[in-house]
Amino acid sequence: MKPITTRVLAAAAGASSLCLPALAHAAGALEGEVVQRDTNVTAIIMFFIFVVATMGITYWAARQTKSAKDFYAAGGGITGFQNGMAIAGDYMSAASFLGISALVFASGFDGLIYSIGFLVGWPVILFLVAERLRNLGKFTFADVASFRLEQKPIRILAACGTLTVVALYLIAQMVGAGKLIQILFGLDYIIAVFIVGALMITYVMFGGMLATTWVQIIKAILLLSGATFMAVMVMWNYGFSFENLFTAATEVHDKGMAIMAPGGLVSNPVDAISLGLALMFGTAGLPHILMRFFTVGDAKEARKSVFYATGFIGYFYILTFVIGFGAIVLVLGKPEFMTGEGGLIGGDNMAAIHLAEAVGGDFFLGFISAVAFATILAVVAGLTLAGASAVSHDLYASVFRKGRCTEQQEIRVSKITTVCLGVVAIILGIAFEKQNIAFMVGLAFAIAASVNFPILFLSMFWKGLTTKGALYGGFIGLIVAVTLVVLGPTVWVAIFGFEEAIYPSKYPALWSISAAFLATFLISKMDQSEGGKNEAILFEDQYVRSQTGIGAEGASSH
């Protein structure tokens, strides 16, 4: 998640979830002027090795990617374990790695509260959504939402939801990537943004979902290994005793024993519930995460994916917790990592990076820096593919050509869109360099939770949902989410500079999700059209398919 404080990291990372503005105030750091460090040769060499390896994978993937199913869904041949790793990779962004460990470094126990919030959505997704999604869908979540509703309006709505979420995330990622790479590698911001954009286009355009998945898996393995090494080194220093580690940490930390108890991060129950809802349902509405459920062969593998993903993500959060405490004892107060004013060089978000140097020297610092870069790449590739699919599969093939186009035409549109998205991401990344973008990930989450999720959920669970209801409900969710974010502290105060926010909380999800569900329900109930009645009848067949997988897309042969 995202927390990192500042725009920088916030941006940086990634993926999915990370990003709630909440965390944004936690640390403090990469904000403002970023100091470019000396060119880090070890890191660049290791990153270069990663790029060469992933290019090899992309080449291999390109040779297997022929049909639309190959391109969008890796042929449906990813196993549950691999997909679990890839989903975990989407979740373990640079922002979550650096951000959560920064949060633990700054506030101790509070970091764990956020980790838990990000994790608990996964079991719920498994229980309620995962297998139905797999049984009903083909390439995008709009396939599921429009299964028995009118294709055109629902696909347009879903594509708007997808593209908005993807655009907000991509900007945040590009800006974060540029700054992070500037700090870690000593490369110029603009060069960093170009490298990220170019590599991301290459992975997606040539290798499709297969390459995107494997890049994500490799990065997840590297990140988990690196983080495990750091956590083990920290524990080794303290005789593998948490009590010893905590004793040392409470002695050196300014806040003393306060780091061992909940602090002020989650003090208001309404905010806490709103944040929890955004995390849970936002995750279940993120298009690049939902797409991963179509890459496995059947519902059985889809379930396993979530099981493994939950395990890896939970393990990762425990590691970041140890790393955060490790940074307190091994980095805090060491002159080589501190500025004259008593802060960390580069800000709190650099806590894990400094710890890497403290426990593993220059070589390991280079490794972790390269992994952080790889993390950003893997996440933006997934986002780009989700955006490209919404344009080519939903808008072009289904709405514009009404299903009358060949797979090759559809793939071509997808590849063209990938290039366009890449170019737009580079331009926006440069344009937003100096802007405050801390609100973007929170907004992306709120939109995913208030637009994509309600439609998806009700289309699977509620017979009475009609096209009209879904359409109005989705747009009302969108309007409420955007309005509350604009009127809230992250935009109204931080960007427009007003004294006080009109809507006092950073978390709109409680209201925007409720509004979306309520509006969808009421309007569907009032919809007496023939189309609406017919949709209720179609629900019966959809229900059989969602429960049994009869008629579902199977795995392709290779």
Binding site: P123, E243, N268, I273, G276, R303, F307, G311, I550
Partner: protein, 102 residues
């Protein structure tokens, strides 16, 4: 997958059984996860000091630490419990239903 297959499946009592069992199971587990999480959040909101109590006399480790880890582990275990039953019992039922509808 003609309409008749769907009709046959719907009339199969095993299909009713599958849907009923799975839905009860899934919603129960979801409720357990939500209760654990929101219980934790409510304790943080209303009684944060209780999580800051030392785990034993004189310890630096507080009660909140093992509880936090336990919640992470419980999320993993709950998914494991669901997957075990769904990939075994429920998939077997599904297989029978599909078989009988052919």
């Amino acid at each position: 997958m003609s309409a008749s297959i769907h009709e046959k499946v719907r009339r199969n009592p095993k299909f009713q059984e599958l849907c009923r069992k799975r839905s009860t199971f899934a919603w129960t587990l979801a409720a357990v996860m939500l209760a654990i999480y929101y219980g934790f959040i409510l304790v943080i909101a209303f009684a944060p000091a209780s999580l800051g109590a030392p785990l034993w006399e004189g310890a630096k480790t507080t009660v909140g630490f093992p509880i936090g880890i336990a919640i992470i582990v419980s999320a993993f275990l709950l998914t494991g419990i669901y997957v075990k039953r769904a990939n075994g019992e429920f998939d077997e039922l599904t297989r029978q239903i599909i078989e009988e509808s052919k």
